[in-house]
Every structure is written in structure tokens, then in C-alpha cells.
Subunit: 169 residues, 2 copies
DNA sequence: TTTATTTGTTTGGTAAACCAAACTTTATTC
DNA sequence: GAATAAAGTTTGGTTTACCAAACAAATAAA
């Protein structure tokens, strides 16, 4: 789509720069190095590579900003990250930190088609009355081992239908 | 868990070897090279690395088999792959080929906690009467753009409750 | 405005993956 | 059982990504 294919590493650098642009207005080598957990020397190499690809404005010893193209690509990556993290925390109900760690890696693995479908699924779940808050709650109980008993599973549908009818009035 | 941490590459080699063991009883360098789309020379290096880690039985010019440990690790990776692909095809309803491509990459990105939770979610969906076949069908319609209309959404719950009650008798 | 300090760059070196092509071993075929 | 083919290995070279440490530039402090 954007016509660019980046290594996971360069994608991460781009995302970091976007993050810094948002919070600090401008990205500095030192901050990028800290956020990525590498030495400053390693950053310089990555910046040259990103600049060659036309994704950042970079002159030695100057501030770093994203180009128009760079902003588009970084935004795309960031969108994947947010969608995936949202899925992991709100659907799978993973611990926020674990969700974040997994999203950081998954964002490089999932293509647009998959992420878009994930968005559609979340949307369907959120708008369909069958999968309302109580259904989500049910998953929390289910995964905590209360799956075998399912005490009120039998009447769940009926009760939900009643509640639903009530709200419609 | 298994106490081993492998690069994505070595994980892929291990998975390939498992695959070949299943179909051909034994893995040959040529076949591994073909399946992974690399030259034979590249395979030799990877095999040395896997042998050093005690994951495969490897002597130059001999057949390759997985050790007990290698089988365990490869099985773990393969499980992740199957779970993810299952999710992508049956929940997100992605095209099988697209699901396969994404699963191949995602299997290296998701940790055990995330995959386990995915399993639990699929299980919940499949056992909960609210998210039955018709709900899944609804997603297929929803994602095809018929989301705005939702013609029979209003009565869906009531009808489902009735059907459900019927089946219980 | 000198002198520190911080920040950024460069250089040399390592490790993982890969290729290309020469080479060796094993398997086939005549 | 020798000649040929196929399979596997080695060697030298490339790329990406990193570190460590020397160096240069810019900023801050004296």
C-alpha cells in the first residue's frame, strides 16, 4: 500500500520517532536510544537508513522529524499496534503489560487484511446484543476454570432476551 | 518453560524438520532447503546451530532427526501455529492462504500466555449458546457491509432464546 | 569566553542469515 | 567397479543490527 517494506527494526525506530514527535515535538538520538534500549551509535546507522528511504528528515547533529511519507508509514504501524493491543486487552482480557509486549511483536507479523478483520470483529462484538458486557464477563468466568459447572448457562439466553426486550421499550 | 530461546529463523527450521519427519520419516538437507526457499549451504549452518543447542541429531552427511527436546520445542511452535491459524480462519474468517501467511509470522510473536488465552476464547465462543453458528454467520454478513441495516437484529435475541429453549426439551 | 558536559558520529569488531560457487561425499547408473 | 549425478559441505563475501570506545560537535556552566 505505502510501497515501502521495512525490517522489523526500522519499523520500531519509526514508531519510536513518531512517539517522540508527539510528546517532545522533535526526536533526539539520545531519546531514541533510550526508548529502544540501544546505544546512541546504533541509532545513527538506523537514521541514515530511514533517511535514505525518504522516511525522516535527517542531517547530522540536527533534530529528527518524520517526512510526510514517514508519518504515513509510522501511523500505519501505530494503528496496527493499537488495534492488536485493544484486542488482546479487551477481547482476550490479557494483563495490560503482557498485551503490550505481545502487541509490540505482533504488529510486525500481521498484515493489513488481518488487522482490518480484527477491527471488524471487535466492532461486531461490540454492536451485537448477543455479545454484550455479560457475555464478556462470562468469558472472564469461563477462563477462570468455572467452565465445567456453567450453573446458569441454561437460562442465560432467555434472561438476556427478556432484558433486551425490556430495554427496547 | 522449555528453557530455550531461539531466533525466528531457527524456530522455522525446527518446524520444517518436524513437518518432514512426519511426512518423510526423516529430514534431508535438500528438502529443508526447498521448503524454506534457501540454498542447501544455508541449511548446513542452521543445522549446526540446532545441533549445538541439542535440538537435533546431526552428523555431517547423515539424516536429521529431532531429539526429545527438539520434538518438544517444535511441537510447542507447531501448536502456536495451529491455534493462531484456527483463530484466523474460523473466528476472523480470513482466507486460508492469508491466514496461513499471517500465522507463520504470528507464531513467533505470540507468547504462551497469549496463545493459551486465544484457545480459551475459541473454546468459550464454541461452547456458549449465545455465540452459535448463527452468530458467526452474522459476522460474515456484518463484515460484508450489511452492518448498517441490521434488519433482524432487534428480534435476534428473542428468536435465539426460543430456538434454544426448543432444543433443550 | 574558556572549560566541562552532554549529545551525536565514526570506526572496528561480532553475530546471524543469507548467496554463489567450489569442493567432497554418497548414491546411481552403466 | 568406474563414471556420473545428486546431495551435502565449505569458503568467501554481503547485509543488517548491534556494541565499545574513540572522536567531534553543540550546549551548558564557570
Amino acid at each position: 500500500m505505502t510501497g515501502i517494506d521495512l525490517s522489523e527494526n526500522l519499523e520500531d525506530y519509526l514508531e519510536t520517532i513518531l512517539e517522540l514527535e508527539k510528546t517532545q515535538k522533535v526526536a533526539r538520538v539520545k531519546d531514541i536510544a533510550e526508548m529502544r534500549g540501544v546505544l546512541r551509535g546504533s541509532v545513527t546507522g538506523a537514521l541514515k537508513s530511514l533517511a535514505e528511504k525518504g522516511l525522516i528528515n535527517y542531517e547530522p547533529y540536527s533534530f529528527i522529524t518524520l517526512t510526510r511519507k514517514g508519518t504515513a508509514v509510522a501511523g500505519e504501524i501505530n494503528r496496527r499496534h493499537r488495534v492488536i493491543k485493544n484486542f488482546l486487552t479487551h477481547v482476550l482480557q490479557l494483563d495490560p503489560q503482557i498485551a503490550e509486549d505481545n502487541a509490540c511483536r505482533m504488529e510486525h507479523a500481521m498484515d493489513r487484511a488481518a488487522v482490518d478483520r480484527m477491527v471488524a470483529f471487535i466492532d461486531y462484538m461490540e454492536t451485537c446484543p448477543r455479545t454484550d458486557a455479560s457475555w464478556i464477563q462470562g468469558f472472564a468466568r469461563h477462563r477462570q476454570g468455572e467452565s465445567d459447572s456453567r450453573p446458569d448457562c441454561k437460562d442465560c439466553m432467555t434472561r438476556s432476551a427478556e432484558e433486551h426486550a425490556q430495554n427496547k421499550k
